[in-house]
């Protein structure tokens, strides 16, 4: 991974004001933000947009192809696919964001501590990450999600346990490289305590890269949530979720292929949006 | 003395794709047997000029104007000798490969010629029997291999891009001596890029002083050093060479 060079003298305030101004000048960032905005707005206002409820069944109108009445058709129980799709976005996006908060913070903290203090602390944290990485990602996610019980809670527990690894690895490397640099040494000679140097000086420099990684990681997390739903150990019906929608539609793949295809496209759409935001932010911060 | 121009650079201008000027209207000519020095600080466009002569500009750099005219074969010696060799390929194999394609000989004959070349450049005999990779040779040895590769192309113009900058001071001298001796023996012309005015003065009969992509002054080495017109040249001379040595002692420059 290429490291971005960030001017350590830049203050957080200056960065924030120029950020908004520069979103427009970075096309990938603009496109990604717009794509996300469309999805979030749809999810927020779906009760006013759609006349249907997500679980409203209509057995006289099942498996209908797309029409003016049902924009994306209906499923095997006659539920409106578009309505369910957007309600599912509510579920999945909410879980995606919430499930990422704790792992992001712990990973960042552990990575900085390991990279800054080195020695035995670093050895221990590296050993833990090495152990986790030995398990294939989906294997560990599936087993932990199953063990902690299907449903939202299981997903949060799973990602609190395994989600921090990525951030810890990235931050550890960055912090270790910053540690070699003069401005850290000069802060040390001033007698600042380590935790202060970490929070005041290293964190602002590690954060941009960590946020870029966060964007890509959210895509992976979303795909994992959807995969768990598909396998029946994630979100449980009747809560609408893209994964369970794909799995429900699988039985009708020969007759009504869009039932499985469309929720998948929603995942891909969100993935593209987040990737674009990530790439855009990386470009933005690299330009400085 | 007959003066045959074998390389003529005229109004050469190079830009990045974003239209940032890198080299601006550079012109000079190189005669047979002659050595021309391009001196100036880093970033002044010396190396890019050289790459333009070689016809292999780095990605993202374009020639926007001017011509490079030459019918002669060129070869190049690089600043970082280790980087100029494939790290995963034994050095003898790299050299034989060049010999094979440039001199159109069999694989076996190419190896023979390659070993001769290496011997001529004073590389140890151990290279003949064992596979040696660039990482196993010293910087000076790598540079000799790079020079051997350049010579394998049988060039009539040798382009040297700061060939000694990355080396130890003692090795620098040996490499300079080797290049000078080879030039005497084989009779190629040279364009010698350096930021070291002392080296340039020792090697070159003509000098071009470059700054910010432009030639600020050019002329015969002795004349230019003794009577610099441009303030930048004066500054270079003052900063590099002790003034007393310059006065009257013509022998140094010949």
């Amino acid at each position: 991974m290429k490291q971005m060079r960030i001017d350590p003298r830049l203050n957080a305030h200056g960065k924030r004001t120029s950020l908004i101004g520069r979103i427009g000048s970075t096309p990938t960032l603009l496109a990604g933000t717009l794509m996300l905005a469309v999805l979030v707005l749809l999810a927020a206002f779906i009760p006013f947009i759609s006349p249907y409820q997500p679980s409203e069944q209509n057995l006289s109108a099942f498996l209908q192809p797309p029409s003016a009445e049902h924009w994306l058709g209906t499923d095997q129980l006659g539920r409106d696919l578009f309505t369910r799709l957007i309600y599912a976005a509510r579920t999945d996006l909410k879980i995606m964001v919430l499930a990422e908060i704790i792992p992001f913070c712990t990973g960042l903290f552990l990575g900085m501590v390991a990279g800054y203090y080195g020695k035995w602390l670093d050895t221990v944290i590296t050993l833990i990450t090495d152990t986790f990485i030995a398990f294939p990602f989906y294997l560990i996610v599936i087993i932990v999600a199953f063990a902690s019980g299907a449903g939202e809670r299981g997903i949060y527990i799973t990602f609190i346990l395994v989600g921090w690894i990525v951030f810890a690895r990235v931050t550890r490397g960055l912090t270790a490289s910053f540690r070699q640099q003069e401005w850290v040494a000069s802060a040390q000679t001033l007698g600042l305590p380590g935790i202060r140097i970490i929070l005041r000086h290293i964190l602002p420099n590690v954060l941009p890269q960590a946020i870029v990684v966060l964007m890509t990681d959210m895509v992976g997390l979303l795909v994992a949530i959807v995969t768990l739903g598909y396998l029946g150990i994630g979100i449980t019906p009747p809560t609408p979720d893209w994964g369970t929608m794909i799995s429900d539609g699988q039985s009708f793949i020969t007759t009504a292929w869009w039932l499985s295809a469309v929720p998948g496209f929603a995942v891909v759409y969100t993935g593209i949006a987040l990737s674009l935001v990530g790439d855009g932010l990386a470009d933005l911060w690299r330009k400085k | 003395m007959s003066y045959n121009i074998i390389l003529e650079v005229e109004d050469l201008s190079l830009e990045t794709k974003q239209h940032q000027k890198l080299v601006n209207r550079v012109s000079f000519a190189l005669g047979k047997w002659e050595t021309l020095g391009l001196v100036g600080e880093s970033g002044s466009g010396k190396s890019l000029t050289l790459r333009a002569i070689l016809g292999l500009l780095p990605r993202g750099v374009e020639k926007v104007a001017g011509t490079v005219q030459s019918d002669e074969r060129t070869a190049m010696v690089f600043q970082d000798p280790r980087g100029a060799l494939d790290p995963l390929c034994p050095v003898v194999k790299q050299l034989s490969e060049v010999v094979r394609f440039r001199q159109q000989v069999s694989k076996k004959a190419a190896r023979g010629i390659a070993l001769e070349l290496l011997e001529r450049l004073g590389l140890p005999d151990s290279l003949k029997t064992e596979d040696r990779y660039p990482s196993q040779l010293s910087g000076g040895q790598c540079q000799r291999v790079v020079i051997a590769i350049a010579l394998a192309c049988k060039p009539s113009i040798l382009l040297c891009d700061e060939p000694t900058t990355a080396l130890d001071v003692t090795v620098q001298k040996q490499i300079i001596e080797t290049i000078s001796a080879l030039q005497k023996d084989l009779g190629f012309a040279m364009v010698f890029v350096t930021h070291n005015l002392a080296v340039a003065a020792a090697m070159c009969s003509k000098l071009c002083v470059m700054k910010n992509g432009e030639i600020v002054e050019q002329g015969e080495t002795l004349e230019l050093l003794q009577n610099p017109q441009d303030p930048y040249t004066q500054m270079l001379i003052n900063s590099v060479l002790p003034v007393p040595e310059l006065e009257g002692s013509e022998r140094i420059w010949n």
Binding site: A134, Y138, T227, V268, D279 | F78, G83, R102, Q136, I149
Partner: protein, 331 residues
């Protein structure tokens, strides 16, 4: 991804004594990770909130049944004794106990399913490497031209594609519509097996290609920009020879490292894809064991997968170092 070449070149120039020390370090580290993995798998059953026996037997089980389940899982022993027993069975018999449902040993169950999964992983790896190499070469040699732009967009689009969904779409396209491949299951004989595994292997490979292409392209550009390529070009060596003999070789080494790192993801993807295509491999064993709450088997699968990943990464690391002359030292 960490750049492996950096750590390699940092140790360059060490004498062979440094090499054997390096080997010892790497081996010890792998061993320690294997021990940690074992411990983690042992505790896996214990992160379950409540009584795993109750989870297996259901809420309304008799106390006697619970008692015998406790015994079967070894939960009636002290934690230390349980761990010792677990480690002992693992290292003497290579096992994690018998299946609660069928009574067969976990090792046998896994050995029975492993061939299909290994074949699928092998095919997926071959597909992934070939396609990634082709695309990366195409992109790197046409930098900033149309093929490069198209190939660079590719990872952005495919990053968010759930692997099972890709499998479904491929089934829809190539099995249902075009009828080129069977819809699921594994065919008879070698030909039939390869034919029926082709589509799942492509599905797994598809999930690996974006990462591989992205980093391979960057590696190739690095190599293409390096001085030695200019040396070879200046010597007018034919382009094809520069590309295949020099650039590819130099880009191959980091790719091998990256592939070792990604193997873990590839195995995970394979387990999920087996489910989509109805292939009776380790993946389907995992899901049926999960459905039946068959803890020893789940533990066994987790352990075997993790230990394979550790051993393969170790081999990749050793092979890369052995292939790289930069680590051989001066003489």
């Amino acid at each position: 991804m960490m750049k492996p070449s950096k750590t390699l070149s940092a140790t360059a120039g060490n004498k062979s004594r440094g090499s054997s020390r390096w080997l010892a370090m790497v081996l010890v580290r792998a061993l320690v990770v294997i021990l940690c993995v074992t411990t983690a798998v042992f505790f896996l059953i214990r992160i379950v909130p409540g009584d795993p026996s109750k989870m297996i037997l259901g809420e309304y089980s008799t106390p006697e049944a619970l008692e015998s389940m406790h015994h079967a899982l070894g939960l009636d022993l002290s934690l230390g004794d349980q761990f010792l027993r677990f480690v002992k069975i693992l290292f003497t018999q290579g096992d994690t106990g018998n299946s609660i449902i069928s009574g067969t040993s976990t090792r046998e169950l896994i050995a029975d399913r492993a061939p299909v999964t290994l074949l699928l992983i092998g095919m997926a790896s071959v597909f992934a490497i070939i396609i990634a190499l082709l695309l990366a070469t195409l992109a790197a040699t046409n930098k900033d031209k149309l093929p490069d732009h198209l190939i660079r967009i590719f990872p952005t689009i495919t990053l968010g594609m759930p692997v099972f969904w890709v499998g479904l779409l491929l089934i829809l396209m190539f099995s249902v519509r075009l009828r080129w491949f069977p819809v699921g299951g594994v065919g008879e004989g070698w030909g039939g097996t390869l034919h029926s595994l082709a589509l799942p292997a492509i599905t797994v490979a598809f999930s690996q290609i974006p990462t591989l292409v992205r980093s391979l392209r960057a590696q190739m550009l690095d190599v293409l920009e390096s001085d030695f390529v200019v040396t070879l070009k200046a010597a007018r060596i034919p382009r094809a020879i520069i590309m295949f003999k020099h650039v590819m070789r130099n880009a191959a080494l980091p790719t091998l490292m990256l592939f070792g790192v990604n193997l873990s993801y590839l195995i995970g993807g394979t387990l999920v894809v087996e489910q989509v295509f109805g292939i009776k491999g380790i993946g389907s064993l995992l899901f049926s064991s999960i459905a039946k709450r068959d803890f020893p088997v789940i533990q066994g699968i987790a352990l075997y997968c993790a230990i394979s990943v550790v051993i393969i990464s170790l081999l990749v690391e050793i092979i890369s170092r052995w292939l790289d002359p930069r680590t051989k030292g001066k003489s």
